[in-house]
Each structure stands twice: as structure tokens, then as C-alpha cells.
Amino acid sequence: MKHWRQVIRIGGFEFRRFFKWKQELFSLVLIGALFGVTAGWGVLKTALEETHTVAVVAPVTLPELANIKWQPVSDTTTALTELGENYSGVLRVSASPEEGYGAELWAANSSGWQDRMQAQLQAWLQQQKLEALPLDASQIALLNDPVRVSITVQRGEEETSRSASKVIPMLILVSIMVGVFGSFGLMMTAITQEKQQRVTEQLLTIIRPPEWIDGKILGITLHCLKSMATVLLIIVLVSLLMMVIEGRPLDFPSINWTVLGSTTVFAIVGLVMINALMAGFAATIDDPNHSGRTAMMLIPALFVGAGFGVMDNLQGILAQILSWFPLTSFAVMPLRIADGSVSWWEVLGSLLLLLLMTYTIRSAAIRLFSMGITMYGKEPSWRMMGRAFIGRR
């Protein structure tokens, strides 16, 4: 009981140590502002863009385009002498079955409005060409309708498009990646800073290494979960806003609570395991700015990388193996669960193995932590670390 009371106190302190309201709000406002600028960039750019006058020789009336003013002229030769002064461009258009459909633009210099005009004019001329053919309206509509090739995944009574089925696993992996990277940064800072600020010796006379490491794991895991939830929330909000701005219907994949629940459990246990590993290892680093071991702390990112590697074939043997392997299962099994290609006993078996591995790593990390935390100005050798990890003196 005393152990857990201390763990909660340490966990709370570690969480508060890195959670700063002002910083959190600032990050959210910054992300919102970035999104706002990105979403509104096109509108802003068009609004601020100057109008370009283009001299036109054309047998037809051209459609109105934003920020472009058509100035009909009789010949291109005269207009070209005024290029760059009175005209931003000179355009010659042919739009008849006899002359063909096309346009040629002369410009004084290269600019973005030319690409926009090119695309819009191309579409308009294509339409003109179709209308000139002896076709009725339904035939023209048929020609305008692009050919689609879609893939539908049918599994039992569920039927989802393949692109939609990839959204959830991708979200899961991205959020786990955020958690793992957060764990790397925070645990490294939490422990090496304590060593550098010489807090360790005083604390070691008050708390035991298992209490300390469990408290750190609790606090940093909570922080990582907070970061994961924030990232997911931002992705959802940004997607919603994009749909509203673009006038699309609010089409979100429905929430599968079983998937969400099991994914959360795997993510939490996985983060606890990664944090335990990080805590043990970080305690052996004397100065993160000079230690060659810092890069080793990126290894857990490889475990998540395994998830990205098998995402295109979640039914495959490799995906099945990695979803059972306890160092990668926290990243791969949620993908298979979201894919719907896994039975309940596989989930349970994989979770048990993950829990066992987490406990083993946590126990080894306590030994590493106890050995490394009071070493100032030096680092234990790999041999010492290996012996501590397996529990030999």
C-alpha cells in the first residue's frame, strides 16, 4: 500500500513537472492558427493577388476566371509589343472543329496564375470540344464521368471501403508513435536532469528505486497518453473543419468501441513497457549531450516502425508474428484488431505475453536504475549493464 501511495505521489509530480497549462494552450492555439492559415491560404492568396490583364485573340467568349481580365485584341503581334507593360500575357485561342481546340499563352515571366489559368482553360476547352460533337446530353455526361476502380473489403456482415479501413489503423499508429517519442524525450529529461541537478541522492534516502521507477513510469505514461489524445483530437477537429469548409458531408468512420478499448489497453501497456526500458537505460546516461548511448533510446521507435511495415498486409504471416512478439505487439496487434482479422484468443494471448514482458523489463530496469542513478561523471560499462539487466552482480 505504501508503495502505491509513493508511486502516485511521484507519478503526480512527474506529470505536473512536464504539464504546463500555458504551454499546452499555446500549443493548441499555435496548431489552430497553423491550420487556419493552411486552410485559408488559397482564399487569402486569391484575395490578395493582383488582377492580370491578358490580351486575347479568340473566336469565342472565354469564361470568367478569378484575378484574370481578358482584353480582346485583333492580333497578337501588336499585343506582344505591350507584353510586360499593359499585358501580363497574350493568349491565342482556337476553339472550332476546323482549327482544333487549344490555346497558346505568351508571358513576360513565369508566375503561378499561368498554371491556374492553364488548368481551367484546358477543362473549358475540353467541354467546348465535347459540345461541338454530335452527341446528346446523356452521352456528354457519360464521357465526363471519370472511370473509377474501387476496392471493397467484405468481411462477414461488415463492408467497408479499403481506404476507410486504413484510416483507423493509421491514426492508431500515428498516436502510438507520438506516445513513444514523447516517452523518449520526457523520460530522458526526467532522469538525466535529476542526476545533473543532484536530486537523486536525497531522494534515494526517502524512496526505494522500485517506487521511484514506478512513479516515473506512471507520470510519463500519463503524459504520453495526454499527448496521444491531444494529437487524435486535433486530427479529428481539423478533419471536421476541412469537411465544413469544403462543403463535404460530415463522413467519419463510425467508432468501434471494442477496437478503441483493446487498442487503448495495448497502447497503455506498451507505453508502460517502453517507459520502463527508457527509465532503466536513461539512468545509465551521465550527460545526454555527450553520451553515445542517447541514440540507443530511439530503439523503441523501431517497434512502432514494425507496425508501419506490415500495415499493407495485416493478414500476412509477418503481421501475425509481430502481433504476438511482445516488443512489437502493442503497435501491431491494434492494427490487426482494427482490421478485424484477429480472433479474441489471439488478442488475449498477445496481451498476456505483453504484460509478462512489461513486468520482466520493469524488474530489469529497476536493477539498471539502481546501479546507474548515483553514478556521477561516469557511465556503467555495457558489461555491467548486461549483468544488472539479467540480475547478476
Binding site: 505521489r9 513537472r17 535529476e194 541537478q197 543532484r198 536530486v199 536525497q202 534516502t205 526517502i206
Partner: protein, 308 residues
């Protein structure tokens, strides 16, 4: 509470950091471990707080009430100020103190009262909401001392509590330690500043190269260390140094003037016998034994040990 150290030895690689050390510290006493760098003071303190274990010998804690040995010293019973010390620099003074108090198991309300009382005493109340890094080194040291004391421990172990403090703050810490003694707390500290320690410690343990070279009260330690005595003598008339140095008990006679001399004598010599011998040379106007500082006595003892 009693702290007993019995024949404790600790070795690191090829160095014997602590060599057969024994001592006892009781409630209401200040025991000072003195010695140069590498004497073994910090190694001994670290064993007493349980950070390391002795290779041989034992450290026993006994309750003041029934003298029964305790199996382990609970973290609430002692306060430890390490030599390598620090607190969370980015957190405020209050956050740091609350955290340490909660880990020590002090109730929230009691902790707040205790923190407030100590901050008032150390005149740091108005700095409570500032991050530690904004405080001067001396003030940070005071906060660390508060963190060591705020749970009212029965045993306080302070490793170099005066280092980094200016003379004013050294005096201030001295007064705090005297107060702790008067409330029955056992205080064990290590220090270099012998002049300071001389003024407050009940017991002194002088160490060199891991071993104890003298221990006891100040008078007892003096007795153990003093091998030579210094005196000053003033004659009513001019005297030659050779006349004095031929006396068998006088090791050296340094003239300070024609009539005044500083004498280094064998410690076994009785002062009244020497005075009679000096009176035979010339009438003595003044005869004063010089009291040597502990610092000098310690240096003499260490040098004698090196020479032997």
C-alpha cells in the same frame, strides 16, 4: 535516538574509504566528522543513511526510549543533506518542499505549516513561488536544509552543511543546529570548517585516510592530539635565546624581541616547573601558555602520522 557505528569498514576498488570506524551519537548531541577531502567522512555518512552498505562492521540505530535496536531507520526518522545536493531547478521553492514533505509521509496540512514556519525562519517566505534556479547559491542551500528538516526528524545527517555559505549564513546554520540539539535531535555532520565546529559540537571525530585519529569531546580530542605545547614568555630584561633552548624541556625558542620569546615545549612538561627554570635565567614578567586551534592540532597530528 542513538546511532552506533561499530568497526565499520568500506572499500572501493583499491581504496579503503572507511577503516574500522566506531562512534556513538546520542539524542541532543552534535557529532562532527572532521577531516580533509578523502578522509572518508562522506563515505561514512552515506553508509549511515543506508545509501551504501559496510563491507564489515555494523551500523545500529537505537530508540532513545528503550535503547532497543531498530531493524531499519525509517525515512521519516532522519533527514539527510548530501554533499552532492540539489533540488528541481525549474520547479518553485514550494513545489520542491511540498514534494519532499509528501514523500516523507508528512500530512498535507502539517507540511504546509512546517514549510511556512521554516521559510519564515530562513527569511525566504517572499521567494516561495520562485523557481529554484532564480535563488542564489546560499539561498538554495537554505532551501535544501529546510527540505532536510521540515519533517522534524530525530536524526539529522548533514554532509558539509557550511560549504558554499557566507559567514553570515554559516552563523545562521550554526544557530539552527544548536536549536536542533536543544530539542533532543541527534545531529551528525561532516565539515572542513574546524573553527565553526569547535564552537558547537559535543563530540568530534577526526578522520584521516578513512581512519579515526582522535575522537571525543573537544577537551578529549585536544588531549589526544596535543604533542607539543606553545608558550610565550616575557622577561624583565634582555635574554639570549640560547639560554632558554638549552633547557631540556624546551624544543625551540623563537625570539619575538630582546625580552619576549615563543617557546615550543614537550607536552609532558609541567608549566610551573618550566616557569621556575625560566625564573632562574631572568625575572619573568609574563608567562602565558598558547591555546592552539583545533585546525593546527589536526594538521600536526596528520603530519606526524605521515612522518611516522
Amino acid at each position: 535516538m542513538y546511532v552506533e557505528v561499530n568497526n565499520v569498514t568500506k572499500e572501493y576498488a583499491t581504496v579503503r574509504a572507511v577503516d574500522q570506524v566506531s562512534l556513538v551519537a546520542k539524542g541532543g548531541e552534535i557529532l562532527a566528522l572532521l577531516g580533509p577531502n578523502g578522509a572518508g567522512k562522506s563515505s561514512l555518512v552515506r553508509m549511515m543513511v543506508g545509501l551504501t552498505q559496510p563491507d564489515s562492521g555494523q551500523i545500529v540505530y537505537r530508540s532513545a526510549a528503550d535503547q532497543q535496536p531498530l531493524t531499519a531507520l525509517p525515512s521519516t526518522a532522519f533527514g539527510y543533506l548530501p554533499e552532492d545536493r540539489g533540488l528541481y531547478q525549474e520547479r518553485t521553492v514550494l513545489d520542491n518542499l511540498r514534494y519532499i514533505a509528501r514523500l516523507r509521509g508528512v500530512h498535507k496540512t502539517t507540511a504546509e505549516q512546517s514549510i511556512q514556519r521554516w521559510l519564515d525562519r530562513f527569511e525566504l517566505t517572499d521567494r516561495a513561488s520562485e523557481p529554484m534556479r532564480q535563488l542564489s547559491k546560499g539561498n538554495q542551500q537554505k532551501i535544501q536544509l529546510i527540505a532536510t528538516l521540515l519533517h522534524e526528524p530525530q536524526v539529522v545527517m548533514l554532509d558539509e552543511p557550511f560549504s558554499g555559505l557566507d559567514p553570515m549564513n554559516q552563523e545562521f546554520v550554526l544557530s539552527v543546529l544548536n536549536d536542533l540539539r536543544s530539542t533532543g535531535t541527534t545531529v551528525i555532520l561532516s565539515a572542513h570548517q574546524m573553527a565553526l565546529v569547535e564552537r558547537m559540537a559535543n563530540k568530534l571525530v577526526l578522520m584521516n585516510k578513512g581512519a579515526v585519529i582522535a575522537q571525543g569531546s573537544l577537551a578529549e580530542v585536544r588531549q589526544q592530539l596535543v604533542q607539543q605545547q606553545r608558550l610565550q614568555v616575557e622577561f624583565t630584561q634582555s635574554v639570549q635565546a640560547e639560554q632558554i633552548s638549552i633547557l631540556t624541556s624546551v624544543i625551540e625558542a623563537v625570539p619575538l624581541s630582546d625580552t619576549r620569546f615563543e617557546l615550543t615545549c614537550d607536552d609532558q612538561l609541567a608549566a610551573d616547573k618550566l616557569l621556575m627554570q625560566l625564573q632562574d635565567i631572568a625575572p619573568v614578567a609574563e608567562f602565558s601558555p598558547q591555546r592552539q586551534a583545533l585546525h593546527d592540532l589536526y594538521l600536526q597530528a596528520v603530519r606526524a602520522e605521515v612522518n611516522s
